[in-house]
């Protein structure tokens, strides 16, 4: 009897995630339909369902698992792609899943400028290619007190920065999101100052946990999650992890950041996850993991304290929010 080794199985023979998920959904839907019919339900389930999960894009080649991943169970593709804060596509959680398909991510360039040895317009590939793609399963904590576990694919920002050869005077990295209101309908409303901008201190940017992300679940990043390239800083509130990046500037002074511009009392430059420092309008001591009914306690630095606490030694974290 011929037993195939796993490497003999062609990619085309493997059931794609979407299909087996669909099978489950079909089974569920059938059961639900039957139950609904029995219950005499007149209401079609689809009428109240949220947006559909993102289409699955190209599978990224040669992704290696990272030892820096958490062993917590990641949320599903559907959860991660239908519940997003991406105000460029609208302010509700479901808006990005409904509206982000209008974004063109090819061609895409990232401008690198400022105090840097190799300023240029880079394609996403040129920016990340020399590094090996890693899958990193990180906890993600939103400033709104919900959280998720997400299997990102990306490269350490550190590697990219080293290749760009920043000058000694560069103390911060500033990032900017695409501004294209024709494709990003949320930008037609002045809910925030556009384009969205973020920034990190150089040692934060160079930290091994900080990631430039191009994928999710081994596939290219869906638009609603910040395609084609975004930042992930897992010990900070989600809004620090800027999406759809078109510019990286190496600068001497602390750069402006969007939520701080919108409301400096509520959102500081650092925005580290900190259960002891509340948002002025709600508590940060606990969080609701997506899908859970009850809240759990939020750990300091979102559980990454061992790796990052020394970055902030001697700083009063109530003051440097």
């Amino acid at each position: 009897m011929l037993i195939k080794k796993s490497s003999d199985i062609k990619e085309s023979e493997v059931t794609p995630e979407s299909v087996y998920l669909n099978r489950r959904q079909i089974l569920q839907a059938t059961a639900v339909g039957a139950a609904g019919a029995i219950a005499g339900g007149l209401l079609p389930g689809s009428a109240f369902a949220g947006p559909a999960a993102a289409q699955e894009g190209r599978r990224l080649p040669d992704v290696v698992a990272s030892p820096l991943s958490t062993d917590e169970e990641p949320h599903t593709w559907k959860q991660i792609t239908t519940y997003n804060n991406f105000y460029e596509f609208g302010t509700s959680k479901e808006d990005p899943a409904r509206n982000a398909h209008t974004l063109t991510t090819e061609p895409w360039t990232v401008a690198v400028d400022g105090l840097v040895g190799k300023p240029a317009e880079y394609s996403v590939d040129d920016l990340i290619k020399p590094s090996k793609l890693e899958e990193r399963i990180y906890r993600f904590r939103c400033v709104e007190a919900w959280s998720a576990v997400i299997p990102w694919v990306g490269v350490p920002l550190r590697d990219v920065i080293e290749r760009l050869e920043p000058e000694a005077g560069a103390k911060y990295v500033a990032f900017q999101t695409l501004y294209r209101p024709e494709e990003m309908r949320g930008q037609r409303s002045p809910v925030l100052e556009w384009p969205y901008v973020e920034g990190l201190r150089m040692d934060e940017a160079m930290h091994p946990l900080t990631l430039l992300v191009v994928g999710l679940y081994g596939r290219v990043l869906p638009n609603q999650n910040g395609a084609p390239i975004r930042l992930i800083v897992p010990w900070k509130y989600g809004f620090k992890s800027i999406k759809s990046i078109v510019r990286m500037s190496f600068v001497e002074n602390q750069p402006p950041t969007s939520w701080n511009i919108a409301n400096s009392r509520e959102y500081g430059f650092y925005s580290n996850v900190n259960p002891q420092v509340d948002h002025p309008r709600w508590s940060q001591a606990t969080e609701r993991v997506l899908g859970a009914f009850f809240k759990k306690e939020t750990p300091m630095f979102n559980g990454y304290a061992d790796q990052v606490a020394d970055l902030y030694e001697g700083m009063d974290l109530r003051r440097y929010k």
Binding site: L43, G50, T91, S92
Partner: protein, 325 residues
Amino acid sequence: MRIRVLQAVVWAVCAAPAVILLYRAFVTGDLGVNPVETLQHETGRPALQILLATLAITPLRRLSGWHSLIRVRRLLGLWAFFYAVAHFTTYLVFDRFFSISGIIEDVVLRKFVLSGMVSLLALLPLALTSTKGWIRRLGGKRWRKLHQLVYLAAIAGALHFIWKEKVLTTETITYFVLVTVLVGFRVVGTGPRFLNAMVGVMKGMLCMPLLPRAWVVLLAAVNMASIAFIGHREAQVVLVAMMFGGMVMAVVYAKLGFVRLLGVGHFHWMPMLVWLYGRLDGAGADPAFYYWILALIAINGASLAIDIVDVGRYLAGEREPTLTV
């Protein structure tokens, strides 16, 4: 008979959000990615919406003359209270799990929780005294006084929604504006006189010859379009300006009738035209918004010119009512 139909409709519409939630929770098992948030939104939102409908009953009665509308007001109020209690229950169970100290901490530290609690507590005595027996026991006058708490409940409820969101959203602003209009309606016009004046202005306009009448309709349409752009500061200002203009005109009408002096209801548009013109540059990104601002400037500008002439003619001694058919 008509009122029975209306009551049935109110029942159906008010029950729908609860039925849909129960269906999603127990039949499809799909309450979205964040089920607790879904439960909280889909109970909080109808609470506020139905509360607004409750507040709208009296103005609607006066404007339409359909007085039996009053017979659905208690029904609406009780449904609003039902959703407010359901909303609070999700908070009590899933956010705080019956922790009294946790709730006290929230109320003391967080205006977003405080405002919600004020709204709920303001509705509580109204629900308890909503029966005919209680109206009799309290006496109509005292009962009405007590039930003015509904304004507090509505304002606190709208603020609760605004403070819950990270930014001002179209939805939260819309509710707040509606609450302001409905409460403002009562505060400014404590008697029917103000309302009658508002109706009088509208009737006067509808009695004008075709051309000016069409113009007024166009003007109202362009200004009302601000609701479509309510996320923009410009639209919010225009909406407030409209209400202000309406109040000025109602006051003039109440004193003098349908005279040319009513044109002063447009005078605050002088600085607004300048301001809007200055905002045009920033409006370029969205063509629809840009052309709307242009239309606002053109049509309100022309109206203002006509109104200035009208007011001038009034001051020069033309005291008879403006042209009517």
